[in-house]
Amino acid sequence: MRKLVLIALPLLMLYGCASEPDTAGIGTDPMTQGDNYQDYLKVNNPELGKRLKITDVKSRKTNEFLEVNLQLLSTYDKTQNLQYQFYWYDADGFVIEPGKTPWKAIALHGQQNLTLRAMAPVKNVDKFSLYVREVPKEVYKFED
């Protein structure tokens, strides 16, 4: 028993120190207005994919700007701290303003159905995609 504890303890400690947050998530591939969203869904993190579903995607032009409405459904009972990012593309598939669309934080409560809404930053946007992943929890280890 003592041996088991002595072996298990360092292993646990190693796991505790080495656990890096999983930054993969779920999302959609670039899609345009009128596309069937189910053909574009992708799950890079099967663990998150079990707890989170994209259940509807709509888009329209508002004042010449592409506007997207996306339904996110939690199939989990606890609150999930997530972040999402929209990407915008022109008709040729080039990314618009790369690295300038912020990740937005959301708290998705147990079994909640939440609508995410976003607007393209410029007019010549033809396609969009979305990515959702978990917010890594901050661990306060350092005092400096």
């Binding site: 041996k3 002595l6 072996i7 303890l9 360092p10 646990l12 400690m13 190693l14 796991y15 505790g16 120190c17 656990s19 508002t62 004042n63 700007f65 506007e67 972040q83 990012q85 303003e97 690295g99 300038k100 669309t101 912020p102 990740w103 937005k104 934080a105 809404r117 976003a118 607007m119 930053p121 410029v122 007019k123 917010v135 929890k137 901050e138 280890k141 350092f142 400096d144």
Partner: protein, 200 residues
Amino acid sequence: MKKLTLSMISIGLLLTLGACSNKATVSYGDAQEVETTDLSFGSTDLQKIATEMTDSLIASAAVDELVKDGRPVMYVERIKNKTSEHIDTESITDSISTKLLRSGKFRFVDMSRVQDVTKQLEFQNDGGLVDPSKAVQFGKQTGAEYMLYGNLSSIVKSNKDKSDVYYKFTMRLMDLESGIVEWADETEIRKTKEKQGWSW
């Protein structure tokens, strides 16, 4: 043999602890990533406010009316900071005006550079060095038709286990000629910090 096993395990334990020791490392991160270092106003809050206000302004029916006859000229009043924190509100103003300008719907005049512009025009017109036919004339600038202004306020609450901060950002667009507020919107942010027990 037993002693050897125990000492091997002890060495292993020490090595494991050594690997986990508090070492500071520097790395480049994603500037757009959600930041949760502490409760104070951060980059994620600034980006959320700027994006939501710009999206709302562009999508509003009132603004659709305003931009029918061309791109209206606006100026952004400094955002009033009513929170207890020191927040660089000029940074919020800059982000919002840059996004609006890049949307192609509006044009801006920059009130923060009036002194520099005056100095340059004085140099061109009165300095004697610039060809008078090529000097930019006084009195030719365009005046702003609309003023964009806002407030940032907060409510902070805490007890021994939990701290909570709530930010509210309100923004309005006023027609400078008539004084009518053509558009207004607000966005809210809630951040909570809780004590957590041991977890792996």
